[in-house]
Symmetry: C2
Subunit: 379 residues, 2 copies
Amino acid sequence: MNSKLKDIKKIIVTKPLKLDCGKTINNFPLAYETYGKLNKNKDNAILVFHALTGDQFVSETNPITNKEGWWVTAVGPGKAIDTNKYFVICANVIGGCMGSLGPKDINSETKQPYGLDFPVITIRDMIRAQESLLDHLEIKKLLCATGGSMGGMQLLQFCSTFPDKAFSAIPIACSSSHSAQNIALNELARQAIMADPVWDKGKYFLKNVQPKNGLAVARMVGHISYLSEKGMQEKFGRKLQEKADYEFSFNADFQVESYLRHQGYAFVERFDANSILYITRAMDYFDLAKQFKGGLVEAFKGQKTKYLIISFSSDWLYTTKENKDIVIALNASGADVSYSEIITDKGHDSFLLEVPDFLKTLKSFIDSMHEKFKNEKRI
Amino acid sequence: MNSKLKDIKKIIVTKPLKLDCGKTINNFPLAYETYGKLNKNKDNAILVFHALTGDQFVSETNPITNKEGWWVTAVGPGKAIDTNKYFVICANVIGGCMGSLGPKDINSETKQPYGLDFPVITIRDMIRAQESLLDHLEIKKLLCATGGSMGGMQLLQFCSTFPDKAFSAIPIACSSSHSAQNIALNELARQAIMADPVWDKGKYFLKNVQPKNGLAVARMVGHISYLSEKGMQEKFGRKLQEKADYEFSFNADFQVESYLRHQGYAFVERFDANSILYITRAMDYFDLAKQFKGGLVEAFKGQKTKYLIISFSSDWLYTTKENKDIVIALNASGADVSYSEIITDKGHDSFLLEVPDFLKTLKSFIDSMHEKFKNEKRI
C-alpha cells in the first residue's frame, strides 16, 4: 500500500504553518485529488472536506484501496455534485494517512516515523494547510465548499478563518463543537487503540506492525454510532448469521456481530492507528465559539457566504439540535442561511448513502448557487 | 478479594440444572444476600434481580468491595423498598463472579478454572438456578420481584417460567429481547476484552492475571450507554479536567475522558473479564417471544402477577418504546398491568440514582401490593 502512495497527487507546502499547539511545520506534503475540469471563468470549483476516516478519493475508484470513492453517491458525472459541470477538489487532512503529512511519516529530526512525536493538530490547522492547495490551483474563490461530519466542522472553520474563499457552503451533519457524548465516543476509540500492547505508545512502526485488534475495536465504536437504533433494527434486528439457531459460543451468531467484526478488521488494512488518535483529538478540540470573544455568532459575523445546513432526523451523533444551533447562530449573525432536515432512519451515515431527498437538496442548492455565482462574477 | 468470597452466604444447589445449551450443572454454589426479616406470614419477601455488573449486595456495604450496595438509593430502612417492613433477597447470577458458579470457578473435571469451558448460559438458566434459593428460604410466593436492565429481563423470564411465584412484578428499564443496537454494544465490549492478548482465549487465570485494558474499555462502552446525551452534556459538557486550556496531548484533557478512564480501570478490581463475556451473551440471547409459539402475548398468558412496568424518558439503551411493547403484550394477554414513564435526563442509569418520581412510584406500588397480598393470604 505504501508504495502506491508515492504515485498520488500531492503538493509540498513550503510556507511554514504555525500550528495551534505552537509548533511549526513546513515543506510538508498535502495529498489531493480532483474530478472534472476547472472552467475558464473559474466559477465551478467545489472543495470537499472529508470525515474522520475519509480521504481525498471522493469519487471513482480509490487507487490505494481499489474500492469506490467514499462519496460516489453524491459526486460523479450526472450526480448531485456533477463532475461534468463542476471541478471537485478534495485534500487528505494533515494528521491523516493517505499522503498528507501524518504520524506515520518520517520526522526529519529523528529520521524515524513521527509516532507520538507528531504535533497534536486541530481542525483549524487542517484547513489552513488546505488553503495552500487553493493557491496552488490558482482558485481565489470557490463556488461551494461542503463536507459531512468532521468535513462539516472543517468547513465551518474554513469559512470563519477565510471568509472570502467560498461563495456558498453546505455543512452536513456536523456541530460547531463536540458534545460530551461525542468526546466520550472518541475517547473510547482512542482507549481501545492505546489498550492494545502492540500500539506500544505509538511506536509500533518500529516493528513494522499495526495494533490491529485495538484499531478494529475503535472502528466498531464508529460503526455503531453511525447508524440509528431504528435503522440498525431494520437492517439486522436479531437475524442470525448463516445458522438456524444460537451456537452457544462466542462466535458471531448474530448478523450485527458479523457486520461489526468485518468492518473493524477490514478497516485496519487501510488506516493508521495513530492517525485515528490525532484526528479524533482534533475533532474533540474543535470549538468554534471558543475562538471568538462573543461566541458562535461572532464566528460568523460579516461572512457573505451563502449557507445551507443539512441534518438527518435519526442522526444521534450530530443531532438535528446541534445543527439547528449553527443555523440559529448564523441567523443571529445576519448570514444568508437555509436549513434542511432530511427525514430518514439511516442515522449519521445518511450523508454517504443513497438518500434521495438529501441528494436532491444538495443538487438544487449547488446548481442555483452556480447561477448566482456566475452572475456575480459577470458583474 | 477471593479469600473474602469464602465468607459470603451461599447455598449449594444439588438438584441438577439442565441448561438451555444442553449441558447440565449440579452441586454448584449460588451466593445471595438478604436484608430485613421474613415475617411469620411470609407475605413480605421481595426478590431483586441484578443487572450486568451488579451482584447480591443490594444495600448497606458490599463486604467484598467495601463500597455501598448498588441499590442503596432504593433499598434500605425507610427507603422505597423499606427493609424495616420487607425481606429483600438477591442472588448473584450464575456466570457471575461474586460467589455463584462462574467461569473463574474450578471445573471439577479439569481441576482448573473453567475459563471458556464454562457453558454458555441464558437468562432462563439464571432464574432457574435462583428458584432453588426460594426453596431453601421456604418462600412459596413472593410479595414482589423486581429488577432493572438485565434484572428486568430476568424478571420477565422468571414470571413466564414460574407464573405462580410472584404476586407482583416491577420490570424496570428493560426489554423482552435485545435490539440490534444492544447486541452491537455488547459485542463491542466482548471484542474489547477478546482483543486484549492478556485475555489469551479466556485462559488468563493460568498466569494469575486479568485482561485489564480490554476489560476497562468494555466498561467504558457501558458507561457511555448508561447516560443520555443530554445528561452527559449537563454533567460534563466540554469542561476540562483541572487545567486552564487544552494540553495538546492524549492525556485526559476533558472531564468526561477522566470519568471514563476512572470508571474503566476501577471496574477491573471487582469484576472478572470472562464473566462479562458470559453475562452479555446471555442478555443477547434473551428473546422471550422466541420461547413461545404465538410470541410475547403467549409468554404472559394466564399469569396472575400484577405488573408495573417502568421506563425512563431519556434511556436510549432500553427505550420507552421497548418497555411499552411489553405493556402492550401484557395487556393483550389479559394481564394486570400498570405503566409509568419517568421523565428524566439521567438515562438508563436512572434506576440506580436518586430520581424522586421513580422512587415514589416504586414505593407506592409495593406498599399497595403488600396490602393486597396480605388480604389474599387472609382469604
